[in-house]
Amino acid sequence: MLEINALPNEEKKLTVSEYKGKSLTLLTDKGISVGDTIKISTSDNEFIAILMPRYESADENHIVVKLKSGYNIGIELSKIQFITKVDQRSYQNVSTNDSLLQIRRGGAQHDDWKKEPPPRIALISTGGTIASRIDYRTGGVHAALSASDLYASIPELVKHASIDPEVLLNEYSENLKPEHWTLIANKVSEKVRSGKYHGIIISHGTDTMHYTASALSFALQNLPIPVVLVGAQRSSDRPSSDAALNLIGATIFSVKSNYSGVFVAMHASSSDDVIACHIGTRVRKNHTSRRDAFESIDMMPVALVKGESVEMQPPQQRYVKLQERNNSGHNNFIVKSNFDSRVILLKYYPGFDPDLLSHSIMRSTYRAIILEGTGLGHVSRECIPKIQKAVESGMMVFMTSQCIWGRVRMTVYDTGRDLLDIGVIPLSDTLPETAIVKAMWVIANSNSTESAKKMMQENIANEMTTVTPIMDK
């Protein structure tokens, strides 16, 4: 059973535990902890400074201190002639109310909601910080996750909704597993069934946010309200962070969208102006670092949040089905939150060893292979016998394209036709990442291979469309 860290990391107690070896010994001997003010004399200098934590990967020959000027420097252990603690770190407990009073951005006031109560939004955090606080004294960055922290950091939110934050997980998204999707889906389900919310926002690390979005799209069916995943490509401790605008956009969309379903809300461009909302199964992280890394594939984003208004893409240009929002009813809402991770995603490349296919079969742990083929859905001729064996042994083999844009079409060339003949199932324009999530979900939610194969070829959550629109990429 997976151990899920369901509580946020307690703000790390500042100790000297980051130090190792010689430096750890010295500091422990002198009873010095991170955050303490210390006096150090070296062979050529003298400092009064605050002891800082040391990066785990850094060497053990230096200690790091923050000088009065605010700069950190490393001091070489062998040069230290004298070191002593001058002052203990003092822990401060200051409420954030003062800062809320201090900042008056855009006239945000609770007064806006005197006549009617504000729409309520549940904010579930799973990792990645939408708001954070910097301790300039130690340089530490801490997540700011309470409602008051959020309002203090992003006062504009007050104008749009009343937000109930809850911390579910605190993980880098690369550490999330299908089990976490289940956990998140169940938490969303609980919030939806409470009937209290206009929308649910999930803050998420960006690396695998599109996988989680896909997973929730399959797991949460007939959602009455929007569920919006949101992240940040620039961490929230920076003044230039995209987190605040992304969250504001997600909030406005959650409140104003006429449609329900699972979406991802992130920057539409490098500029801080428009937030694009993407369908959960059709979105992909296409850049390592840009703010507009998330893109809808083969379709326009379903909505753009510009200022305080939501511009929905007109239905005739959408080619996907969206469900109407129904704030009061969750009777049809179905939750199927289990995933079976016995699926492998294999990317074909020139020189791909066909034996990999048999190795994976040998392991007998897998139920399905998602192939990320070339072009319209191809792999080399040598792979065909191996794939045939796999299919014959009961493995489901699906084809997607590594081109990302466009759909597979395996009747055009011989190789494609041969693959079809041996039982490879094309997944049309389903994205490879979406396909693996879908397969994990399908396997957990079907009772036979045949029904699983059938489900894989059906459009469940807009992961498979029939029209590829003409558009500028």
Binding site: N45, Y55, S57, A58, D59, N61, H62, V64, K68, S69, G70, Y71, N72, I73, G74, I75, E76, Q92, V94, S95, T96, N97, S99, Q102, I103, R104, R105, G106, S132, R133, I134, D135, Y136, R137, G139, G140, V141, H142, D149, A152, S153, I154, Q233, R234, S236, D237, R238, P239, S240, S241, A244, L245, S269, S270, S271, D273, T288, S289, R290, R291
Partner: protein
């Protein structure tokens, strides 16, 4: 400006922070070229918001900036900008060349290099850094600058990235060019010094020369900037940013002395009025939009028209300040002016105050109505009015009340910007030193002794030696050598002097005195690049243009009348004449004047030379014409025996 006060009496202290761009090829945290451009093709818009500190408080300066809620538009150009400058990609490793230069500078200043360098983020949210912070690292502590045996202490030496270039600011949208963002800078902070402004300037000049002696720093306008911390007795430290030239520096120090001492004199007078800052200043703030809408003031009308005619005016009651807002202990130094500068920061035009009203189209009727509304009954009470867009006015009112309270204490700690004419204007409250946290994207850099030892060989020769050598080598007087050394053109000068036969003093005077005088006429030296200068001197060397034409060519370029040297030469009517053409022209002149040649023989030379010069003046060097003509004439005479040759030889 004539100094009305003796700097020693008020104990002026000036601390320098010199920011010197390094002459590296690439930027500090990416591989983009350090080249200025205006050829922007990429644009994007951002907003910055303050980050919350652990104490739940926002830094005062950060909050101040964010209150302005600027949209920032960035302009980028390929080659000098990539995703790093756009804050769309993590920084790369620290530029090694820049780091070495910073270490060499530290060694030159006898400063103690830290054992391990940590890159920090210093919060700056005026938009000049796309990230909202400036990356900076402390390289060395302590050390000194030697000025004629007197040691001026060095506090710190840092290596940091330069900020983006402000293109415009209309109050709502601020625009920056990203070409300069990320250019490596060394920042050297000196201990505060006291003395006369002239002596203080000598410190900055010496440090500048020491840096230039390394040949590793950028030259030219904007490549060195001084921030100056100026304080007087009983005042706070005022930081003045953006001083680019040394003569401007003296004026800035003189202006700040007057301003700061003036504010202290005002505070002393105010103290006599027994004002209770907490109760008396800003205790009544009233909307006076309706009252002022009846005035005939153009300024008022314009402010009311703001924000789709939703502009408002607010008045603040200030007890005990009557006569003090307009009071000038020194010419033009008064609280009213400080208040106007302050509200301009919020994109508002200025303030009106009771000491200057009625005036400017605001009549006594309106003044009385305002007084009534504010319940100004005492003769000693004053009021201040500010108007414009509502949210800005609200912020401005807060800031004005705070500033008026500060007037009781004299000089507020603030950051000011130097103006071109050597004055200063308010830019923001002075920021604390604590707004720094580690740049976690870059690993710490250990500095070992082996590296420092290897760099110690590269400590530059003292600048005065370099100037002496320069003077000796090129037979110039010391003053001219100093001018060349201080100019942006030292390397160019050496290149031209070494590769041509042109007299070094001539080159030097063109590159210094003449260019400076063109610059003083308001012309832009940036238009004239080094290749152009080199080209012009090469033409002179080849005899294609004449000495007198050099400055004329420069002027054409700097006046934007010509884009290239070719164009300038053409515009000046100096058609480039090559050897062949020269021969042909002289042949033609000889042919046309055959009768004179025949009658006068060699004595015709003077007349012929005159005819040649009238055609070739400025295009071909006179000596060249002289020698070609002489040769041709002699040949002609020799081939035509019987023609007279003797006279010439006499």
């Amino acid at each position: 400006m004539i100094l009305a006060i003796n700097p020693e009496c008020i104990n002026v202290k000036v601390g320098f922070e010199i920011h010197q761009q390094l002459a590296t090829e690439n930027k500090l945290f990416c591989s983009c070229k350090c080249e200025e451009t205006e050829n922007y093709k990429i644009f994007f818009k951002r907003n910055l918001r303050p980050t919350q500190s652990e104490l739940g408080m926002y830094d005062a300066a950060a909050l101040f900036e964010s209150n302005k809620m600027h949209t920032i538009k960035y302009h980028a150009a390929a080659g000098s900008c990539c995703l790093v400058e756009a804050d769309e990609e993590p920084p790369h490793e620290v530029n090694r060349e820049a780091l070495e230069t910073a270490l060499i500078v530290s060694l030159t200043l006898h400063s103690k290099v830290v054992d391990e360098i940590h890159v920090m983020r210093k919060i700056v949210i005026d938009g000049s850094n796309t990230s909202g912070f400036q990356r900076t690292m402390l390289i060395a502590n302590g050390g000194y600058l030697d000025i004629n045996g007197k040691k001026i202490g060095v506090q710190t030496i840092c290596l940091e990235e330069d900020a983006a270039k402000l293109i415009s600011d209309n109050g709502t949208i601020r625009e920056y060019g990203l070409d300069r963002l990320g250019v490596p800078l060394v920042e050297i902070a000196l201990e505060p010094v006291s003395g006369k402004p002239q002596e203080i300037m000598q410190v900055a000049r010496t440090l500048g020369r020491l840096l230039r002696a390394s040949k590793r720093v950028a030259r030219g306008l904007g490549s060195i900037r001084q921030d100056v911390n100026i304080s007087v007795d009983n005042g706070n430290v005022v930081e003045v940013k953006g001083v680019q030239q040394l003569d401007q520096l003296i004026k800035v120090i003189e202006y700040e002395m007057l301003r700061q001492h003036g504010l202290i004199l005002i505070a002393q007078k105010l103290k006599k009025n027994n004002i209770n800052a907490e109760v008396g200043i800003g205790d009544r703030i009233e909307d006076v939009t309706n009252i002022l809408s009846k005035s005939t003031s153009k300024v008022v009308k314009k402010s009311l028209a703001d924000d789709d005619n939703k502009g408002v005016f607010k008045a603040i009651r200030v007890k005990g300040f009557s006569g003090m807002i307009g009071f000038e202990p020194y010419p033009d130094i008064r609280i009213g002016k400080q208040l106007s500068e302050l509200v301009r920061f919020y994109g508002l035009g200025g303030v009106f105050h009771s000491d200057e009203l009625p005036n400017y189209g605001i009549g006594s009727e309106q003044v009385d109505a305002i007084k009534k509304k504010l319940q100004v009954v005492d003769d000693t009470d004053a009021f201040v009015i500010v108007g414009g867009q509502r949210d800005r006015v609200e912020f401005a009112v807060d800031a004005l009340v705070k500033r008026l309270k500060m007037a009781l204490n004299g000089v507020p700690a603030e950051t000011r910007a130097a103006t071109f004419d050597g004055k200063t204007t308010f830019s923001r409250p002075r920021s604390g030193s604590g707004r720094m946290y580690p740049e976690t994207d870059i690993q710490p850099i250990p500095i070992n002794n082996a590296l420092l030892d290897s760099l110690s060989d590269r400590i530059p020769r003292p600048w005065d030696e370099i100037i002496d050598t320069l003077a000796k080598k090129h037979r110039m007087n010391k003053k001219l050598a100093e001018q060349v050394f201080d100019s942006p053109y030292l390397s160019l000068f050496e290149e031209i002097a070494n590769s041509t036969k042109i007299q070094p003093t001539f080159i030097a005077s063109k590159l210094t005195e003449d260019l400076v005088s063109l610059q003083r006429q308001g012309l832009d030296t940036a238009l004239l690049n080094e290749n152009m200068i080199l080209d012009a001197f090469e033409r002179l060397n080849a005899g294609i243009v004449a000495k007198e034409s050099i400055v004329l060519i420069f002027e054409k370029i700097m006046k934007k009348e010509s884009k290239t040297i070719d164009e300038a030469v053409a515009a000046l009517g100096i058609m480039p004449v090559n050897e062949q053409e020269l021969q042909r022209i002289i042949d033609k002149i000889l042919e046309e004047n055959m009768s004179i040649v025949k009658s006068k023989g060699i004595a015709s030379f003077g007349t012929l030379m005159g005819r040649c010069m009238s055609v070739l003046r400025g295009k071909v060097d006179g000596e060249k014409i002289n020698s070609v003509l002489k040769q041709k004439l002699e040949q002609l005479l020799a081939s035509n025996t019987g023609l007279k040759t003797q006279e010439y030889q006499d």
